[in-house]
Amino acid sequence: MTRDMVLRVVAKLLIPFILLFALYVQFHGDFGPGGGFQAGVVFAAAMVFYAVIYGLDNARRVLPDWLVESMIAAGVLLYLGVGFAGLMLGGNFLDYFVLDPDPVAGQHRGIFWVEAGVAITVSGVMLKIFYLFAGRGTDGEQ
């Protein structure tokens, strides 16, 4: 954690915009560059930035370990769930055309949830790796 006033204030100003940009990259990925992977890493980078400036303990209070670990599995399960939803509705695995009466709307729905799954897993893994690396030095001292 840093006591530098300039860094703390600038971080507080920047982090909301980085998080907003992550959401923009996620939900605008159908039209502009971006998608689940990019949104996931930008979100994780914003949280790492927060942890570097305000300390690992504060970051762990915002996104606790159990939540980050659940995100790692939840994203893959969501992706698989979209695949099995296609099977249930009479299509093939990961067939989005059957997800909605209108095939094009079905494609939109499938891609939306698949990208959400990718973003959740990627940001969870990035954050977990950072937590484990950053936590090691402090654990040794205790």
Partner: protein, 182 residues
């Protein structure tokens, strides 16, 4: 103009790599590696691959640099002198590099529209994609819909990497706790 920008950036990356290899201070090495990633991200922007640039800037220059700094916190900040002479590894690396350059002579020219990879399924994606998926961004349509299986595999790889890191670093911590207990 674009070729000039890319070549200047690649030359700067080459300088960064040479300095990186010669530097012994690990903090400077980490900063140079971050610089290298930012230059790579800029090359990607110049080549119109903005999504790759975003990933490179966030992962390569951002998160990796922080992780390496965290690792530096656990070890000494000066690189130890190498035990062996570098000539054999240098010769192997140079030979491999020459073989790879020889291999590129057979590849189609850079961004050649007549290359076989652009003649296989790509025209069908470009022609039918917007109508079938209703999504203007071809990258998203191919990535999440046409190549949904591949992306599922990639997501599983990321999941496996996370699970592996958890398994490796967690066990170390429990072993330390066991040592303290008795």
């Amino acid at each position: 103009m674009e070729a000039l920008i890319v070549n200047v950036l690649l030359a700067m990356m080459m300088v960064a790599v040479v300095v990186l290899a010669r530097t012994r201070n690990l903090f400077a090495v980490i900063v140079l590696a971050g610089l290298y990633s930012f230059l790579m991200a800029t090359v990607m922007v110049a080549l119109d691959a903005v999504d790759v640039a975003m990933t490179e800037a966030a992962v390569g220059a951002g998160v990796s640099t922080v992780l390496l700094l965290g690792a530096l916190h656990l070890c000494r900040s000066e690189e130890a002198k190498p035990v062996h002479k570098p000539w054999l590894p240098l010769a192997v690396t140079a030979a491999t590099g020459l073989v790879l350059v020889y291999g590129t002579w057979d590849l189609p020219a850079f961004s050649d529209p007549e290359a076989p990879i652009h003649k296989h399924v790509a025209p069908r994606y470009l022609e039918e994609g917007p109508r079938e998926t209703g999504i203007p961004n071809m990258v998203t349509a191919v990535l999440a819909s046409y190549r949904g299986y591949d992306t599922l595999g990639e997501t599983t790889v990321v999941f496996t990497a996370g699970a592996g890191i958890i398994a490796l670093l967690r066990r170390r911590r429990r072993a330390a706790a066991d040592k303290e207990a008795p």
